[in-house]
């Protein structure tokens, strides 16, 4: 497996692709088993934690990885293959032909999985809100009436702003910190419950990501495995 960055910026490009459900780069999750470039021809191999990982998410990752690799300057062609997955054949062929999700599974898919991607971007935003609020609370700062401009710089704030921008939510300094996943301000009386929900979202995503890492390691013992739970 290639854990070191190959030439040509391909690894960096793939690192911009996130698992939509786990909200982490596919490179860090260990899903990229090979990424090589030879005279402008890119060859990428992807693998997932189980044979039955959801085909909708699998498709999104393969298609996103293909787009990311094609956008690297100097790239002439991209050969991208998902391996050891029950729908690998359909996904690989569909992505190679730019067939879209419905074109990859003719007659079986009821539409493009864009709505699913949006749902999980919203979840990723809520998880980032919980991370920031947890930090502020630990520092003795009451988050309820804060505006973005009042929040001290931190990694958690940067991640939250990134997720907001992705969803097209207000990122201006005047915007309330507590916005729900659709960009509506969270009323003070609902803050405790909504933040509690954001906590549950974060527990879900982080736990799921850990489980997926563990399963990938079980399936491919040679894969790098970072146990973030201990």
């Amino acid at each position: 497996m290639s854990t070191s960055p190959p030439d040509g910026g391909i690894w960096e490009a793939l690192a911009t692709v996130r698992d939509p459900e786990l909200d982490e780069p596919i490179t860090e999750l260990g899903f990229v088993s090979k990424a090589e470039v030879h005279e402008g021809h890119v060859s990428v191999r992807l693998r997932l934690p189980t044979y039955f990982c959801a085909p909708n998410f699998a498709y999104l990752m393969v298609a996103d990885a293909c787009d990311a690799a094609r956008a690297v300057p100097g790239v002439v062609s991209v050969d991208i293959q998902l391996e050891d997955h029950f729908a690998a054949h359909e996904i690989n062929a569909g992505v190679a032909k730019d067939a879209g999700f419905t074109g990859s599974f003719p007659g079986e898919a009821g539409g493009e999985p864009d709505e699913l991607r949006l749902t999980f971007r919203r979840k990723a935003y809520l998880a980032s809100l919980d991370r920031l609020v947890t930090r502020l609370t630990a520092e003795g700062v009451e988050p309820a009436r804060l505006r973005l401009g009042d929040v001290p710089e931190s990694q958690e704030l940067a991640r939250l702003l990134h997720r907001r921008a992705e969803l097209g939510l207000d990122c201006s300094p005047r915007s309330p910190l507590l916005l729900d996943q659709r960009g509506e301000p969270i009323p003070a009386e609902e803050a405790a419950l909504q933040l509690r929900f954001a906590r549950a979202v974060r527990v879900s995503i982080e736990g799921n990501a850990d489980f997926c890492r563990g399963l990938l390691h079980t399936r491919y013992p040679e894969s790098a495995w970072r146990d973030s739970s201990s």
């Binding site: 898919a109 609902e190 929900f197 549950a200 995503i205 739970s229």
Partner: protein, 346 residues
């Protein structure tokens, strides 16, 4: 019954299987992929001393089940949850009939549940009636992600599903176990989505909906529904083994469940043969919320553990509990839903 530090625990294992996943029964690569996926779950989350060979995992003998679950496993009563998967396995993976053989032979040990599929239409309603009569069903296990011909899954809120739920009420089948996943199909939908549970739980207040593995990996969506629907329960199959490999995550999940639901709506399960009950029960009784999380989640008392390990499921299935093993207030109803306010937009 399990005893530790002066406390006695009546144990109901709410979710076990008697499956046949041998290569001779695998119908295609999907059947092989399915059992391999289970085996990876087993290998990944079990302590090293509890890991079996793949051959042992394919099928368990009657003697082995009795040994693992009752002789060394502390379980007082175990509930078979069938998983047909007829498109993946020649004779089905784990059918009511397979499970029923053992349930009939050892009625003091097992309860067998049935299953139905709304895509079977009118004929399936008759079959459900016959199945209920043959096996005196109190519960069913539903598998919404199961393939059937061209269909890659269904929802509890489908019109035909309503017909079947009405039939369950009529037949006295009151426990509806819902398995969400695995992540197979339907393609663009989310097989783990639990919103259909919300709708039918409101429509059928007389039925109990036990969501297996409490909607993981969508814990938050499950909690949000369960807090508003007092007839929705959390089944801990697949959650339990995290107690070994991811104890802090396990503490968070239990903590969230206790916050959003309450201690009366959480039920223990080993998901045998993916995991064995012995080590899960021993670890759970020894388990405590880590100190730095107690401000948020509190502590697990022996009373809460008694309810989760057996008393809650005993209440669902009318299993008699020896008075000395009961917790007096265990029969009080669930608390008021805490989040009856406006819903978080999904």
């Amino acid at each position: 019954m399990y005893e530790k530090d002066g406390h006695q625990y009546f144990v109901v294992d709410g979710h076990i299987h008697f499956w046949d996943a041998r290569p001779s029964n695998q119908a295609n690569r999907y059947g092989e992929g399915f059992i391999n996926c289970f085996y990876d779950y087993h290998r990944n989350l079990s302590p090293a001393s509890e890991v079996w060979s793949l051959e042992d995992f394919w099928q368990q003998s009657e003697e082995r089940i009795l040994h693992d679950v009752f002789e060394v496993g502390y379980v007082d009563k175990a509930i078979f949850q069938p998983t047909y998967l007829n498109d993946f396995f020649v004779n089905g993976f784990n059918t009511t009939e397979q499970d029923g053989v053992l349930a009939e032979k050892y009625p003091d040990k097992f309860i067998v549940n049935g299953s139905w599929d709304p895509r079977d239409g009118e004929a399936g309603l008759d079959r459900l009636e016959a199945l209920a009569e043959r096996w005196s069903l109190q519960g069913v296990k539903l598998y919404t992600a199961e393939w059937k011909g061209a269909s890659k899954g269904w929802k509890l809120s489908d019109p035909w599903s309503y017909r079947y739920l009405e039939k369950c009420q009529e037949l006295g089948i009151r426990n509806i176990h819902v398995h969400k996943g695995p992540t197979i199909y339907p393609l663009n939908l989310d097989a783990f989505d639990v919103t259909d549970v919300d709708e039918v739980a409101s429509e059928f207040p007389g039925l109990k909906f036990i969501v297996e593995h409490c909607g993981l990996p969508r814990l938050e969506d499950f909690c949000w529904i369960a807090t508003q629907e007092p007839n929705v329960y959390a089944g801990l199959a697949v959650v339990m083994p995290f107690i070994h490999s991811r104890p802090r995550y396990f503490a968070q999940v239990i903590g969230e469940l206790l916050y959003w639901l309450d201690e009366n709506r959480i039920t223990f399960a080993s998901d045998y043969a993916i995991w064995t009950p012995k080590w899960l029960i021993e670890r759970f009784v020894d388990f405590q919320i880590p100190e730095d999380m107690r401000g948020e989640y509190g502590e697990l008392t022996p009373e809460v553990k008694k309810k989760i390990l057996g008393l809650n499921a005993a209440r669902l299935y009318d299993i008699p509990v020896p008075p000395e093993l009961d917790v007096v207030e265990a029969h009080a109803g669930s608390g008021e839903p805490i989040a009856s306010g406006p819903k978080v937009p999904a």
